[in-house]
Symmetry: C2
Subunit: 168 residues, 2 copies
């Protein structure tokens, strides 16, 4: 199981995250682009995950809602910039609880010897918005989501060990 590294460097409005997974990048790309897979891992376990739309293509939009047992709902949405592929993804991100604060999030899949490091680089419109995102406890949610992603790829690899990596 990999270790999630989250870096919020002083003085610049960035958040950088890296995490290694025991899977080829094609499988991780599927987990990030197929909504039936995305809903199985993105975010903490305690939320019900409802994906309104998930269109990983230039100009495609995405939106999902996390609901907890107390009836609270947390919506998120954004758009994809440019072609999305195993070579990288790029999207905007807005938490609907803090409307008007938008980040630009890039993602890379770096595969070596069958394992893949995911690296995200998020840029915020102000240092204050970046700091608020860090203070929101996002790190815990990201880490728990990645543990769920470990489980998802293990299930997918167990189901179709020969098929993975042949599709592009």
């Amino acid at each position: 199981m990999g270790t999630t590294k989250i870096d919020a460097p002083a003085g610049v409005p960035f958040i950088d995250i890296s995490r290694e997974f025991d899977a080829p990048r094609e499988l991780l790309y599927r987990a990030y682009t197929e909504p039936e897979l995305v809903k199985q891992w993105l975010g903490p376990r305690k939320y019900e995950m409802v994906i309104d739309r998930w269109e990983p293509r230039d100009g495609g939009t995405w939106r999902y809602v996390h609901r907890d047992d107390d009836g609270n709902a947390y919506g998120f949405h954004g758009v994809f910039h440019g072609p999305q592929s195993v070579d990288g993804m790029l999207q905007t991100f807005e938490f609907e609880g803090a409307p008007g604060h938008v980040s630009l999030d890039s993602l890379k899949f770096e595969e070596q010897d069958g394992r893949t490091v995911i690296r995200t680089h998020s840029v915020y419109q102000s240092l204050e918005a970046r700091d608020a995102m860090v203070a929101s406890g996002m790190g815990e949610g990201v880490n728990e989501g990645f543990i769920r992603l470990d489980d998802l790829i293990a299930r997918l690899l167990a189901k179709e060990p020969a098929g993975v990596g042949s599709a592009t």
Copy 2:
């Protein structure tokens, strides 16, 4: 005629631009969203401006090409995030001559007494990318574009003095 202020603050990857125009914000919003108007002002005069697409709505994409007399072509593209309105616009921006470097650009129209200040705030994925944009001479192009925008709104106001501001 207004003065274009361009600020690239030290240590953070931002470019902030402000410029006052002698027009209500509804007219400026039209100049930013109607492609037949956009092509009349955006960028330096020396380029032929060809707009491939200009879709100011959530998930809409935009692309244009500047061509000079020597046959050089400079393409730019991006996507719009969220609803676009006189209350603000938000889009990604990529110069195709430096692929992979994308900024997130917000725009506000601040009207007072019939005049409108346009403020843009652009965030880059690195300080180096921001500095490269400044070094590219973008300031001169921005300023010349705004002078052309002065001319455009003067033409529009002369043509339809009573109609401006009534449409939303």
